[in-house]
């Protein structure tokens, strides 16, 4: 699981629409808002944010809501589903998830496809991690899915 302390950084994944006129209707994110076993309580509501951007990073859709409505679980991470009004996308597009420290996102530590990024201040940067022992940089995958028809 990963999160960024910066409220302006988002975890982004690049997708390609399977056909012209394809409409994005749902986004799924593996995440978790956490659970305190000692007090058996969930965290207070804090907002996460979702953006859809075209291949040139122009904003197509934006939505913010409290993390507990999507990632509430006392048993660990879950694939939270966020429904969105149908957004027509063509060619490459990006789904950007801002965890804002409220809901860490799941990441695949190996087998990076090169389609996961950090989006911050209008810039898109590769999502990778460095293995300290070997100083090797390894690409990771954010666990974000795009659904549509």
């Amino acid at each position: 699981m990963a999160e960024f302390s910066s409220l302006e950084a988002g975890e982004a994944v690049k997708f390609t629409a399977p056909k012209a006129g394809w409409k994005l209707q749902k986004v799924r994110v593996l995440g978790w808002s956490g659970y305190n076993n000692s007090s058996q309580s969930f965290p207070a509501d804090r907002n996460i944010m979702l953006e859809i951007r075209d291949k040139d990073l122009n904003l197509l859709y934006k939505f913010a809501d409290a993390q507990n409505n999507y990632f509430l679980s006392d048993a660990g991470p879950l694939l939270g589903e966020i429904e969105i009004p149908a957004v027509p996308v063509t060619g490459d597009f990006y789904v950007v998830f801002y965890d804002r420290g409220a809901a860490p996102i799941g990441m695949e530590n190996f087998n990076g496809t090169g389609n996961s990024f950090i989006f911050i201040n209008g810039q898109i940067l590769p999502a990778d991690r460095t293995i300290q022992e070997t100083n090797e940089t390894i690409k990771i995958n954010w666990l974000i899915e795009a659904l549509g028809k």
Binding site: S41, F42, D45, F63, A64, A66, N69, E83
Partner: protein, 205 residues
């Protein structure tokens, strides 16, 4: 879970039959727009009203259950521009205690329940009054045709006004997990069901 249980308790405590609704100044703006109502249309100060939260009946599942009203656009490509909700966050003016901020959610869906618009925001920004208020919430102009639904998810963060009589049959519960509508009706002690009207209005031109 504890938070939700506390909210349910607080909301159950707030069963204020026939409570008058103050009208927010914001609702008097844009006089040229058409206001669609699916309640009795009686002056709110004279309506038989109760306060309701989905958390009362659905508990933690209230996150996925919304109060929905079906409207019909008065003409093709009618622009929905504002939604009015009669609700309250339980603000206690004497104690000057504003509740913890929690989001409500509003959706607009077409006649087939496809999602057209969605917004979430904190209840305290709209419903911090000493009594329930009819609050106007502007949305970007949204073209709607034929029947459409406005769905309000109180999420246990606040209460919504419901009219206890003169049901028009246009108020529902929307179950977002199963994408289905259920009539907004309640059983009383005599096992009789009563339909209600949510006080949700659609405004546009």
């Amino acid at each position: 879970m504890k938070k939700m249980i506390l909210l349910i308790s607080a909301i159950c405590f707030l069963t204020l039959m026939g409570m008058a609704v103050a009208q927010s100044n914001a609702t008097s703006a844009n006089q040229s727009m058409t206001v669609l109502k699916q309640d009795s249309g009686t002056n709110l100060t004279k309506m038989n009203l109760s306060l309701y939260s989905a958390a009362t009946d659905f508990g933690i599942d209230a996150f996925g259950v919304g109060e929905a009203v079906k409207f019909t656009a008065p003409r093709p490509d009618w622009n929905l521009k504002q939604i009015r909700i009669a609700g309250w966050n339980g603000f206690n003016r004497t104690e000057k205690k504003v509740p913890s901020p929690n989001n409500f959610l509003i959706e607009v869906r077409d006649e087939k329940l496809n999602l057209l618009y969605r917004m979430a925001d904190t209840q305290n920004a709209y419903f911090t009054f000493s009594a329930p208020v009819l609050r106007a919430i502007d949305i970007p102009a949204l073209k709607v045709n034929g029947d459409f639904y406005v769905v309000f998810y109180d999420r246990g963060a606040m209460v919504l006004e419901m009219e206890n009589e003169n049901a028009t049959g246009n108020s529902y519960f929307y179950d977002s997990l199963n994408n289905e509508l259920l009539p907004a009706q309640f059983m009383n002690e005599m096992n009789m069901s009563t339909k209600v009207n949510w006080i949700i209005r659609a405004v546009g031109e």
